[in-house]
């Protein structure tokens, strides 16, 4: 005999139906029944009833009581970008595998929004927070700390807890060198023909710029202040920067190091206003991987960051009791032009 059917069944309903107490039902349903020495048969009975009544645990109640929620949070700068969306995809797979519920939220690289987002997540008693690409991870840390919430930094390091980031310096060196080597010996690239566009004053950008400059000096003999054109992470700001550069010199550099695929989109916006011939022998290196970008009509070298590795490492580290915060570096990978790498989607089973 069904109950209201609009109302979900509770352990009390099952308690009545089974003739056991609510605490017995609870133990059976949350898996602690073995160590409570509950009879196999009682357990069976209750489980059948639960199935029949379509019982599902009310996680809010469980969470309130146990001050856990089963929710694992990932805070992202933005969703709409292949780097971060693959981060979300990978993160989800890991969380699901542990039987928990992923909750992915973005906070636009705005420190205030980051803090608010963290507070919100705390108020839902999430169990762990992965802070990815935060502008101000240490402020987020304070909030987590105050709530006793385990957390870790990814992509951009903080100073209060462990961080897992790409080796941006090394990645940048590899990319810069690869850009330079694209040019033939009889028409080599000169220092004043290679510019870096994009990024801002964050650790990743600083490291990438450092690698870029070092390699330029080593391989091209020199570098100069203006070879760095920061544009934040914004297609439109990047577009404007390219326009400006072009207007001043009537051409783009022969070679471009674009810091992040987001800014690469700014280059596309610029291109859409100009004839394609203009870019016939442009060489672009992009610090980020996007499968479509790899096949553009000019050589595009890309750096793919090891998202799977970062997430895996972060899951390892987040449970470790914190000693002194350390930064773990993962080496990113150079991707040759016209390369289609497999990604997190390839792990999913195909339903046809």
């Amino acid at each position: 005999m069904k109950k209201d059917s609009r109302k979900k069944a509770t352990i009390y309903d099952l308690s009545v139906l089974s003739g056991s107490s609510a605490s017995t039902v609870s133990a059976v349903l949350n898996g602690t029944w073995r160590k409570r020495r509950i009879k196999e048969s009682t357990a069976d009975l209750i489980r059948n009833l639960a199935e029949e009544q379509q019982y599902t645990t009310n996680q809010q109640a469980r969470g309130l009581r146990s001050s856990r929620s089963g929710l694992i949070g990932l805070m992202l700068p933005v969703h709409d970008n292949r780097y971060f969306s693959s981060m979300a995809q990978t993160f989800e797979a890991h969380v699901r595998k542990r039987g928990q519920c992923p909750i992915v939220v973005s906070s636009s690289r705005d420190p205030e929004e980051e803090r608010q987002t963290a507070e919100t997540l705390v108020s839902y008693s999430i169990d762990e927070l992965f802070i990815c690409g935060a502008t101000d991870p240490d402020s987020v840390h304070e909030i987590c700390e105050a709530a006793g919430l385990k957390h870790i930094n990814i992509d951009l390091p903080g100073t209060k807890v462990h961080s897992v980031v790409s080796d941006n310096y090394e990645g940048s060196r590899i990319l810069t060198e690869a850009i330079i080597r694209q040019f033939p010996a009889d028409n080599p690239l000169s220092s004043d023909e290679l510019f870096l566009f994009g990024g801002r004053n964050d650790e990743a950008s600083r490291e990438r710029i450092r690698g870029f400059r070092d390699v330029k000096r080593e391989l091209l003999g020199s570098d100069f202040e203006a070879s760095i054109q920061p544009t934040n992470y914004s297609p439109n700001t990047a577009r404007v920067a390219f326009e400006k550069f072009f207007n001043e010199r009537q051409r783009l550099p022969r070679a471009l190091f674009v810091n992040s695929s987001i800014n690469f989109e700014g280059l596309l916006r610029f291109m859409s206003n100009h004839p394609r011939e203009l870019f016939a022998d442009l060489v672009v290196g992009c610090f980020d991987y996007d499968p479509f970008a790899s096949f553009l009509p000019f050589p595009v070298l890309m750096i793919r960051q090891d998202v799977e590795g970062m997430i895996t490492k972060a899951f390892e580290l987040i449970k470790e009791p914190l000693s002194t915060p350390k930064v773990y570096f993962l080496r990113p990978e150079l991707v040759a032009p016209r390369t289609a790498l497999s990604g997190p989607l390839d792990g999913l089973k195909d339903i046809v």
Copy 2:
């Protein structure tokens, strides 16, 4: 005088500190105090205390009591794709604007996973569920229905509640026609040179195929069974299909209608194994928009679905009391080659 500081302050702490009762504190903090006729000064006092103690509401407790949570769910097939990631980005902005907390989860187009995901979300008492691109939306409906959870379908329609989808038939017609018109009058495309790759037996694919076939018949005089090559939504399956086609005929069709950017990635994988000259005069139409794909070295026509419009409409409809379930169609937009459209990221403020 601070409390434990590791423990979060509760309304009881504030109740003691302020000398008011817990219910007064509660009313002040959750905004119902005006109608409870609480003195402005008491309210002020309590709010100051709350600030000072860094009080934040325990949403689990509030949710348990009020059987709401402030969580709004979006169920996506996958994250790592520009269509769905822009969906997530847009959805987030809408939810945030309403002061609620977005929770975006993917379920791999697997009906069983869709159901489980829905159950999980229900168990957290989410307030509304947006079901995007679900393989079996009606099963998800049953779960929501049983829990009294408001929900709506996006992208792929269901029969039990309202749905907001792209006008796939019309979009497909537009795209197919545009593909055909890419070819010059003196060397026109013939029916046997245009194939559709990708998709499966879902409503979107069926409609796209219908539009494709209709336009082929109208403009090219005929169509044939084999012009449709379903590959599911999977880069790898698509790659295999292209390989197979190529092996059998030693060439690709002159023109391709690729159903979804996910399958377009399969085409890239195919291309990476072949010299670029092979694709010198290929024309591709893709039902989905990706900014990088738009600039590939051959003409790429794309269809951008109206994500912002779909989300907006869905938010309108979800609160409407359900009469007979209706399907709302939004017209997607044809995107010419070499076009960089602005997206949901452009709405964010730029922090430099």
